[in-house]
């Protein structure tokens, strides 16, 4: 179903594309199962675009840092047309409500997706691949030595797709629904999102243990910070300021400094974290960062009734107060 959407997306993009615009989408990289972001500036590149279950990246990271030119693209006056899954759209909407990007310059093309593939799960089940493609139900692959095989799509989806809490986007310019039946199924699946691991995190000793052996693996490569759409000042991040008289964080890679790095990044990001799961996906050491984000997101929604990315104008809790809450 999702590859049928690809043709329609290409047709749409070809006729709305004007000179000076930039289209951000996905294309094949040198390895069969990995997709890489594609930046289209002239019309005939649109054919390289691919829409399938391997589009894992959250492209909104290039929007949030668009103006600063370090990670985002250099300034240009045209529009930015971005293809997005519903979960990426949530990040974009949260950025609009954080006034990081202005709505007029964005053309949001959202397409329905039956979930994206977690490459770690895929390689555990299939090993190294020479060729792979996926449809609604199965992933067909050929191994390096030529053997072919087929596995169930649901067995290799990302946890966030299994949870199914990637609701309908609050706003979009174009929305590709795919066929009627699968769209209805997905709406039902999304209506009862189930929580995966949030309940276990109550007792303090267990938490300290998780922090110790998870965060001690951290090699401080900044992948989680730079991929995060909610971490939008990563061009002038407080950790990179070369001239602070007393450095907030030292370059040392000990457990204390690593915990401090994640504490402070976590503290900066959680009000606008939409749970897109990119930080856990990109971590070269496989640290399960989502545990911490889910834990704090649950507190904000119960305490302040605020879920990031739900609307494009909600005032996030930290910027406001209410008399008589006596929280502290």
């Amino acid at each position: 179903m999702i590859n049928k959407i690809e043709e329609n997306v290409k047709i749409l993009l070809k006729d709305i594309f004007k000179n000076g615009d930039t289209i951000i989408s996905y294309r094949n990289s040198g390895t069969p199962e990995i997709k890489t972001p594609l930046f289209i500036r002239n019309k005939n590149d649109i054919d390289f675009l691919t829409i399938d279950n391997f589009n894992v990246n959250n492209l909104s990271v290039y929007l949030s840092k668009f103006e600063q030119g370090e990670i985002g693209l250099a300034k240009n006056n045209g529009r930015i047309i971005i293809t997005a899954k519903p979960c990426d759209a949530k990040s974009i909407i949260q950025m609009i409500s954080d006034e990081q990007i202005d709505k007029e310059r964005i053309v949001l093309v959202v397409y329905e997706c039956d979930g994206v593939i977690d490459l770690k799960k895929l390689s555990r089940l299939t090993g190294e691949l020479r060729q792979v493609d996926a449809n609604e139900e199965y992933v067909n692959f050929t191994k390096l030595n030529g053997e072919t095989g087929k596995i169930n799509l649901n067995s290799v989806l990302l946890d966030k797709c299994l949870e199914g809490n990637c609701g309908l986007p609050y706003f979009y310019n174009y929305y590709f629904v795919g066929n009627e039946k699968s769209f209805k199924e997905r709406i039902i699946k999304r209506s009862k999102p189930h929580k995966l691991i949030i309940q276990t995190l109550k007792d303090k000793k267990e938490l300290k243990q998780i922090v110790e052996n998870e965060i001690s693996k951290c090699i401080r490569c900044n992948a989680c910070r730079n991929i995060c759409p909610a971490c939008f000042c990563s061009d002038r991040c407080v950790f990179d300021k070369p001239k602070l008289p007393v450095e907030l964080l030292e370059k040392d890679v000990s457990l204390t400094e690593n915990v401090l790095f994640h504490l402070i990044r976590f503290y900066h990001v959680f009000p606008n974290c939409t749970g897109c799961g990119e930080c856990e996906r990109v971590c070269p050491q496989g640290i399960k960062l989502n545990i911490f984000y889910k834990y704090i997101n649950e507190i904000i929604s119960t305490e302040f009734g605020f879920t990031p990315g739900s609307t494009d104008s909600a005032r996030q809790p930290l910027l406001s107060y209410r008399l008589g809450e006596d929280l502290v």
Binding site: P242, K243, L244, P245
Partner: protein
Amino acid sequence: MKTNNLYIPLPSEIVEIKEQGTNIKSFLVKLPKEINGSEIMPGQFFEISVFGQGEAPISISDVFINNNTLLFCVANVGTVTEKLHSLKAGSIIGIRGPFGNGFPMSSFKGKNLILLGGGIGLAPLRAVASYFFDNVESFGKLELLYGARSSKDLIYKDELKQWRLKANTIVKISIDKPEKDWKGNVGFVTSFLDPNFADRSEILFNNDKEFKETKLIICGPPPMINTTIKTIEKLNFPQQEVFIALENRMKCGMGKCGHCNIGSKYVCIDGPIFTLSELKQLPKEF
């Protein structure tokens, strides 16, 4: 300097600190006995350690073999240099070095030297000048063309006065913008190389018009180096006679940490002095 571990700084005491310009100070420090003073060439640099803060690569400004001291000139631009500026005479710092290739003084013998300095770029050029004054007879003429943003940014003011009186030495100074009680030249330092500038370089345009007997030595901030290279190309001065001191970011000073890597060269061991012809083969990343 053959201690087995080149990362270990040698303790050295600050003898005297002098204000030189807006947030620039010169530091006279004791030369540790493990370092042989006569081996130190102009254009080389030392890694100065402020313990607890870090290290900064500072080019050698002068070597006084007799009273065993070294002179450095440091601008307060980073965390280490800021801490260094807060120190008083008598406190202990660490120095490591000398690193870098330095100017090939022996190949300069018998030639005229033009020193083109920008702002604090005069610091390493002073080492060249004092080498010239120590062996005046084996060189041609010395001409110092020195520019700075404002009169307050000029360093070694009293030394400049003494150099004017020395034999076959010419000193020309200019500042970027006119100031109230400034009677000297006004304009960028590259204007000295411009043929129709009033106070233009004497060696280039009178004594050695074919540029056969002259070495051009440049030290200053990257923007100044870029504009100077353009004017030199206009003059078509022979490129292998132009010696440029680069100032890339450095951490180890021994070609290991990779910060000063340009193309296949490391500025700290293959430089910091490069001839213009060498620089042309490297990517423009300085």
